[in-house]
Symmetry: C2
Subunit: 256 residues, 2 copies
């Protein structure tokens, strides 16, 4: 397929590399930032564009991979095209692209960074299309990149994106709290590596309900009150109590 | 070394298997629950004991791997021994074993389950001893099991255990929140597998401060208020706001 990339961020970079690897034709890259656009275009060996209104109108798929807030601007400025226009955002409804006859969503569920390699073949690609022909075309495109392709409605994707905030962004915030606590005792964060990996693997294998352990799960009030005393930060104490209560509440109803 | 195991739970099971593998002599196992004790003793091919007062007094090390609350009871009931008495608990001070001349702590930082294999050679073993000779003996024992052995004081271990509650128990609780959110849209939790693994790997490699992403990190109030509307549970909304504020607070001071 002939694909045109709009955006030069983490998702655009990883996605375009995967498309190229799957032997699709990338027609060009368009971005606001001139040097980022040049850089990505060079990497893909395609033409860089800096004005959205001047991009070619003959691609099969236009992939909009820009920040959520900028999607509406891109939509307004794009020329009329007959190809499929898709965005890659978790929390933007498909209807934001309704200006185009054929439109859809191509949402990769992963945390991309420019400095880290991601194997796209195992990234869940969540697909929605304005009509069954468009959906099928986007599903086929997705299947050329990944072994985990799932059709998904806008509301499902919104729930998925919210779940990802908990399972990724908030999880990372818990790691950051741990790092700060360790600093109190001059313990390097790297001591957490194996525990973090096992906790992640265990939840994925057993499901988080079965995998839950710790003082709150056991209702070990002695350890919990001892740990409360170790936190000089009152807000951190509040977080500790709040999450502990969530855990206790979750098992109260299922335990005898 | 001749080692006697007190306890039959997850830590006792994994630790005794690793000790055996490292060619130490296990002298016996003692536990409250007769069938658990029989089972572990059989697995290790050693003698089971059900009364702590009758265990042999000639082992080099007594490893107490029971629940935190039961350690004091075990200490009271144990015969006078000349060997080292150590416990494996994160949040119990070493001083709880002061009845014994030579005592210490042997705390493995990992989440053990009976059904999962753990490679003990990469588990951080955190060691404290009542005197330098005891510390050295426990360090040597630990080094025969793991490549990551760290001397650690009682207060450091308390901080480490608290950090582990955040990085493991609370992280798992965030996974559970994600699982519940996904249920709203009938999305199976397994979709999270790659994201969870990458989030863990990224934090371990880059440190959680650099690895933080998401709406709260970007200050994306549009997405945040949209996501608030997706949560029917008011308590979940509170958790979302609270963790988002922690993230925003963390970057306010470091950003321009």
């Amino acid at each position: 397929m002939r694909i045109f990339i709009i955006g030069t961020g983490n998702v655009a970079t990883h996605l375009s590399a995967a498309l190229l690897k799957a032997r699709h034709n990338i027609e060009g890259v368009c971005g606001r930032n001139f040097s980022h656009t040049e850089e990505l275009a060079k990497k893909l060996n395609v033409k860089p564009f800096n004005s959205i209104s001047s991009i070619p109108a003959d691609a099969d798929v236009y992939m909009i991979s820009v920040s959520d807030d900028s999607i509406a601007d891109v939509v307004t400025q794009m020329p009329d095209v007959e190809g499929i226009v898709a965005h890659t955002a978790g929390s933007v409804p498909m209807s934001g692209l309704a200006r185009f006859n054929r439109h859809g969503v191509f949402y990769p569920l992963q945390s991309f960074s420019k400095t880290r390699t991601i194997d796209m073949s195992s990234v869940p690609l969540c697909i929605e299309g304005s009509d069954s022909e468009t959906t099928d075309a986007l599903l086929a495109l997705a299947r050329s990149l990944s072994n985990d392709v799932r059709p998904m409605t806008t509301i499902q994707r919104a729930h998925l994106h919210l779940a990802a905030v908990f399972a990724s962004n908030f999880v990372n915030s818990m790691y950051a709290e741990a790092e700060n606590i360790l600093k109190e005792s001059n313990i390097p964060f790297d001591i957490m590596r194996e525990l973090i990996a096992e906790t992640a693997a265990k939840a994925a294998d057993m499901g988080p309900t079965a995998a839950q352990t710790g003082p709150a799960r056991r209702g070990d009030t002695r350890v919990m009150s001892h740990q409360m005393g170790l936190m000089p930060d009152r807000e951190l104490q509040k977080l500790y109590s709040f999450v502990s209560e969530r855990i206790q509440g979750r098992y109260k109803t299922t335990d005898k």
